[in-house]
Symmetry: D3
Subunit: 285 residues, 6 copies
C-alpha cells in the first residue's frame, strides 16, 4: 500500500499521515521503537490531527494504525508517566487540591481520545501485534475495528492498579455483545486474541497479517469515500447519537438532520447514476 | 401453511392478512411483482393495520412477511419516490420552509414504521430474498427476526445518497452485538447474508427456505399465542421500555405494571394447569 | 475445591459461605432437596449477605452457585408462593389498594436481588443443571456468568402467567448480543442450553461439569483477588455506571472517581512490582 | 372582539372557531350551559382541531378560551363520566385486564390534551371564572396562560379520589416557581385566585375581566402573528425541547434546527425591514 | 396544639412523635438545648422513623418541626462532627481508600435524609428561628415548606469549607424560582429571611410565629388527611416522578399508576359524597 | 470602583480586565461606541478569556459587565453580521452542505458562550442599559445576574426572523420561575424592565445605577472570594450538574466529588477560624 504523504499534515511529529487513495487519510502512530507507546505530547497531537481531519473537505475516511511489526500500541509509556505524573509533580498539595487538578488532567486526556469519535469522518482502526491499555480506549473511539490475526489485546489497567479512565469502560460495554465478557476481561486484565475479539464483536474483521488488514481497510475506505459524504457523515453522526439516546429521541434528531441533508443534490445524483450505470461525483464537504 | 383470510382485515389493499392458527395474524406485504417495494400508500396502510391489531382481542401474535419468491421487500419504490417527493413538489419554497415540511413528512413516515413497535402484540418478522433499505427499518421495529438462508440484506441508504431516517440507525445499534459491524454495514451499504445476520444476532433463526422459515414462525407464534396474553404483552411492553431506560427506572415501571397485571387470574390458572397437566385457557385481552 | 467456612458468615441459614482462597468468598444456595427453589426468607437473607460482603475488607471477589447436582435454582418455590402471596392474604382489599401493596412487595423483592449488583465486589455466578425463572434474574445481577455444559436455562415467567419482574427484563437486554433472541426466549419461555447461552454472550465461559466450572471460577476469582481492590472495585462501579449513562456522563463520573482513586498507592506499587518482578501486596478496602 | 368564523373549522361541534385578526385563530370551548364541562366527544374533537391548526399555513397563533361568563371549564363532566367510565362498562373483567384497558384509555385521553402542546403554533390560553380539574391540565399544555381577575383555580382531582392523570402533575411542576406551592395545591385541592396564580408564575398576565384578558391575548397574538413564522414556530419547538432535555442536548438540537431554518429568507427580510422601517411580509408556513 | 404521643413511635430517642388529629403524625426534632443540632445517631433514627411512617396505615400526613423557641435546627453538630469524622478516624489510610470510605459514609447520610422524600405520605416541614445547613437539606426533602416569620435561613456549607452534599444542591434548584438566587445564596452562604424565602418560592406560607405556623400546618394536614389516601399518595409519587423525568415519561408512568389506582372505590365514594353532601370515609392504605 | 489591570490578561483586545479586590477579576466588554455589540472576533476572544480564568489560581470570582453608560450589550453587531454570514459567503453551495457548515458555525458560537458556564469560578453578570439578544444568551451562562434599574431586556431574536440559538432557549426556562412568562417574552420579543426581571427571578438583585450594581457585585464577589475555593468551585460544579440530572444522579456525583474535596484542609481551617474568630486563609486552587 504505497502512500503519498498528505501535504496538509506533514508538520505533525509523532504520526505519519499519508493518502492511500482519493479522499482517504491514513494516520500511523509512529514510534515503533517503543512499541508505539504514548507520551503526553502524542495524545495532544492526536487531538489536533483529528480536529483538522474532521472538517477537511479533501478527506472523507480515515484509517488509524500503528507503525512497525510488533504493536498497534503498547498503551501509555509507563516509564515516562512514572516520572512526570501530575500527582507527583505537586507533592506538597493537599489531597483535595491534588484530586481537583487530577480531574482536570484526566478530563483533558479523555478529550484528546474522544477527538477520534468527534471527527465527522468515519475512522477505521486497524490493529496488530500488541494492543493493550490505551490501545483499547483509542480503538473504542473509532467507528470500525479490524485486526491482524496475531493481535493480542488486553484491558490492561487493573494490572497497573487503576480503573481504565480514558474511554474503555465508557464505550466497550456498548460496542460488544456480552456484558459478562466485558466484566471478565476488564476485571482480570487477561489477554484475548483476534478470534475471541471477532466472536464478541469487538472487531468486525480479522485478517492474516497486518498488511492484509491494512489492505482490507483501504478497500473499505475507498468504498466509503466513493459514497456521498453527506450520507456517510450523517450516518456516523446519527449512529453515535443513537448509542446515547432513546429510539424516540434519535428519530426526532434524525428527522431534523435529514430535513436539511436531503436538500443536497446527492440523493438525486446517486439515483440518477444508478439508472445510468455511471459513477456519481459528489461535491466536497 | 394454508391460511384463512382474517375477516376484520379484508379491506386493506396492499397486504394479505390471514390466520394460520388461533389468535395468530399473518400480515403479508403484497406487491410481489415489484419486489414488494413500498409506495407511500403502503406505509400509511401499514400503520392502520398495526393500530387495529394492537388492541384486537382476537389477535395475540403477528407474523409479518413478504409475498412472492424474490423479496421480503426491496425497500422504497425509488421510481415512484423520484416523481413525487415532497421537496420536488414545492420547488418554489425557500430552503428553510422546505426543510420544515420535510421534517413533518419524515416524522410521519417514521410514525408509520414505529406502529409495528407500538403494536401491543409480539411481531415476528420473516424475511427472504431481497431485504434492503426499508426492509431493515421495518424489521428492526418487529420483536423477533427470522429469515430464509437465501436472504440478502443491505442497509442500502448511503448508496442512494442519504442517511437512513426511518428507524435503522435508531434501532439497529441496540438490536445486535457489534458496534463495529453496525458502522461497517451502515457506512458501506455492503450486502450481508443470513449466516452473518445470525452471527451478529440481527436474526435469531435461519431456515432452509422461506416456507421453512414461515413454518417455524407459525409454530413459535402458536406457542406464544397459547400463553397468557397478560404475560406476553406485559413482557413486550417491559422489554421495549428496558431498551430505552436505566435498570432502576425499568424496575420501578415493572413494579407498577405487575401491581395490576398480577391481579389477573392468569398466574393462578397457569400454575393450576401446571399441576393438573391440563392446558390453560386465558381470557382475551 | 475444599473450602473453609467463612467465620463472619456462619449464622446464615439458607446459604453455605466458604472461602476457596484468600479474599474470595463462595456463597452457595443451600436447599438442594428442593432444587434450591427460593422461599421469601431466602431472598431476604440474600440481601443481608451481599450487603455484608459489599464492605467486608477481607473479601475482594464473590462466587455464587447452587448446592447439589441438579440445579443452580429452579426459581421461585411455586408451592410456597401459592400459599402466601400478598394478594391472597388480603382478599378483602379493593383492587387499587391490593396493587399498591403489591407494588411495595415487588419493589422490595427487586431490591433483594439488586443487592448482588450493588455489592462493591465482583460477583461470579456459576450455574449448572436447572437454571430457570429467578435463576436468570439473579445471574443477570452478577458481573460474570459461567456455567456447566449441562445447564438448562429458561426465562420461565410467561409460562406461569406473568411478566418477569425481578430483573430479567431490565438487565438481560443489556447483557447479551441479540434483541431478537431476547424477545424470543422471554416471550416463549423456551429452554436454551449452555452452547446457545455462550453464543449470544449470556455466559462467557462453559465448562464440562459443575466442578470444572467452579474450578475455573475459583481461578478467575483468585486472579481478580490478587489485583488492587481499588482498581477492581472502581472498574465494577464504572462499568455498571456506563450501562445506564451516556458516554459523556460516564467519562465525567470516571474522571471524578479516579481523581481520588489514583491517590491510593496501588498504581505505584503495581508498577514497581512489574519492574521488580515481585508480587504486589495491596492494602485492604 | 368581533370575530369572523374560520371557514376551514366550521364543522366542529363543541367549539366555536373564529379569527380576530390575520393569521390568528380563536378556539372557544362552547358548552357554556354546563360550565364548559368536558364530555369524551369534546376531548376527541379537541385533538382533531389542534392537529388541523398545527400545519394550517393560514394560522400562526391560537387563542384558547371558554364561552360564557361563568367558567373557562369546570373540568370533566362528572355526571356523564359516572355513567360511562371504561371500568364500569366491563364489570365482569378481572382487575388485571380492566387495568390494561384503563391504561389504554388514559393514554388516549392524555394524547388529546397533549395535542395542544404538539401544535406547532403558539397557543395562548385565556381563563376566567371557574377553572378547575381538566382546566389546569389543558392550560398547562398551552404556551402562555392569561386570566381574568375573577378566575378561581383548583387542581381538583384529589377531591374526587384520584391523582390527576391528564397532564397537570407532569407539566405544572415545570411551569411555575415553587415546588412547595405545587405540592400544596395538588395535595389539598384548595382554590387559588388570579393574584396567587400570577405570583407563582402560573399565569403571566391578569386582567380586569374576561373581555380585557381576551383583548390582551388578541393583541399579543397579533404581535406574534406579525413575526416570521419560521422564527416563532422554531422558538416554540426549541423551548418545549429545552424543558425535557439537558442544556447540552438542547444546544445540539438547536444547532441542527437553525442549520436549516436560517436558510429561509426571513432573517434577511426582517433585518432589511428594520433598516427601511417597513413592515416585513413573511411567507406562510 | 395539644398532641397525644403516637403509641407506635414512643421508642425513638431524639424525636417526639405525636398526633394532632386523626391520621396525622407530628415528628419533632427534640434536642432544643443544642438548637436541635444533629448527631449521627439522629439522622440514622430519622431514617427509621420515616420508613415506619411510610407504610403505617394509621398515618396519612406527617408534620416535621423542631422543638424549642430558638431553632428548627442549627444543622450538623459541628463540635461532635469534628471529633469523630470518618476521615480523622483512619488517619493512616491512604487518600484513595479514605475517599472510598468517605463516599460510602456520605451516601449513607444522603440516604437518611432522602427517607423523608421516599416516605409515601406527604410531609409538611415547619421551620422557625435558626434554619441553617442541614436544615435546608432536610426541608428540601419534604413536600411542603412553611415557616414562622422569624426564621433565618442559610445554605451554610461554604462557610465551613465544603460544598453541601446531603441534598440542598440536588433539590433546591428544582424547588425554587430563580437560578440566580440559588447560586447567590449557595455560593455566599448569606442569610435570607422568611419574606425572601416566600418570594422565591422556597416556602409557600409564612406565619406570625412558630405556633401559628404549626397551627396552619395542622389544619392543612387535616385537610389532606381527610382526602382519599390513594389519591394523595399517588399525587406525591407522581409529582416526585415528574421532577426527574420528561413530560412524556411521566405521562406514561401516570397512566400505569392510575390503571390500578382508579380501581379503588375512592373515586366513586368521593363523587357520591359530593352529591350527597356527606363526608366520605376512605379505607386505610 | 478603581481597578488595577490584571497583568495576565492585558493582551486581550475587546475586553478590559481588571481586579477590584484580591482574587476577583472584572471582565468588561469594551466596545462602548457600538453599544458593546459583538463581532465574531469578540466571542472567540471571550472563550479564550474564560478558559484562562477557569484554571487561574489567582482568580476565584469573575464579574462580567459592559463598558459605557448605554448598554451591557446590544447583542450581535447586525451590520457586520449581514456582510459576512457563513451562508452568504458560499452562495454556490447546495442547501444541504450550507446547512452542515452552518451547524458547525453555530456549534462553535455556542461553545464560546458556554465557556462562561464551563469556567470553574463563579461568574456574576452585571447588566445595565440595553441588554438584548446575545445579552440574554450570555447572561444566562453566568451564575448570578444583577442589574441597574434602567436595564431594558429583550429576547430579541424573533424580531430578526430567527429562533435564538446561542443559549437563551436552552437555559432561560431553567433559570426563571414561569414557563408562561418565558414563552411570552421569547415569542413576542417584547421588552421587560429590571422590576419584571427581578419578579420572575431572572436577576436576583436590582440596584439604582450601574455603579451601584457593580459595587454590590464587587462586595458579593469579595465575600465569595474569601471562602474556601474548594467549597465555592465545588458548589458551582454541583449546582450546574443538578440542573441537568435527576436528584439521585446528582447525589451520587456529589458523594464522589466530596469524597476527595473533603480531604482538603479547608473544612478544618474554616471550622477552626470559626472557633478562634480569626479569618481563615485558604490555599489557591
Amino acid at each position: 500500500m504505497a502512500q503519498a504523504p498528505l501535504a496538509a499534515y506533514t508538520a505533525y511529529k509523532h504520526y505519519a499521515i499519508t493518502s492511500p487513495s482519493p479522499f482517504v487519510a491514513h494516520v500511523e502512530i509512529n514510534r515503533p521503537t517503543k512499541l508505539n507507546a504514548f507520551l503526553e505530547a502524542m495524545w495532544l497531537e492526536l487531538r489536533q490531527i483529528f480536529q483538522q481531519l474532521s472538517t477537511d473537505p479533501d478527506v472523507r475516511v480515515v484509517i488509524l494504525s500503528g507503525a512497525g511489526d510488533r504493536a498497534f500500541t503498547a498503551g501509555l509509556d509507563v516509564q515516562a508517566a512514572s516520572q512526570g505524573t501530575p500527582i507527583q509533580g505537586e507533592s506538597d498539595a493537599d489531597a483535595g487540591r491534588k484530586a481537583i487538578k487530577l480531574k482536570r488532567y484526566i478530563t483533558d486526556f479523555q478529550d484528546c481520545i474522544s477527538a477520534v469519535e468527534r471527527c465527522e469522518k468515519p475512522v477505521i482502526c486497524v490493529m496488530h501485534g500488541i494492543a493493550i491499555g490505551l490501545a483499547i480506549d483509542l480503538s473504542c473511539a473509532a467507528d470500525i475495528r479490524m485486526c491482524a490475526k496475531d493481535t493480542r489485546f488486553s484491558v490492561k489497567e487493573v494490572d497497573i492498579g487503576m480503573a481504565a479512565d480514558i474511554g474503555t469502560l465508557a464505550r466497550l460495554p456498548k460496542a460488544v455483545s456480552s456484558a459478562s465478557w466485558v466484566k471478565e476481561v476488564c476485571l482480570s486484565a487477561r489477554f484475548f486474541d483476534a478470534k475471541e475479539a471477532l466472536s464478541v464483536g469487538f472487531v468486525s474483521q480479522v485478517h492474516e497479517s497486518k498488511a492484509a488488514a491494512l489492505d482490507a481497510a483501504s478497500k473499505l475506505a475507498a468504498v466509503m469515500a466513493s459514497k456521498s459524504p453527506v450520507a456517510v457523515q450523517g450516518t456516523k453522526e446519527l449512529l453515535n447519537h443513537a448509542r446515547d439516546h432513546t429510539v424516540d429521541e434519535n428519530l426526532n434528531y434524525t428527522a431534523a438532520w435529514n430535513a436539511f441533508a436531503l436538500q443536497a443534490p446527492d440523493m438525486q445524483d446517486a439515483l440518477l447514476s444508478g439508472i445510468t450505470k455511471s459513477k456519481p461525483r459528489f461535491e466536497k464537504l
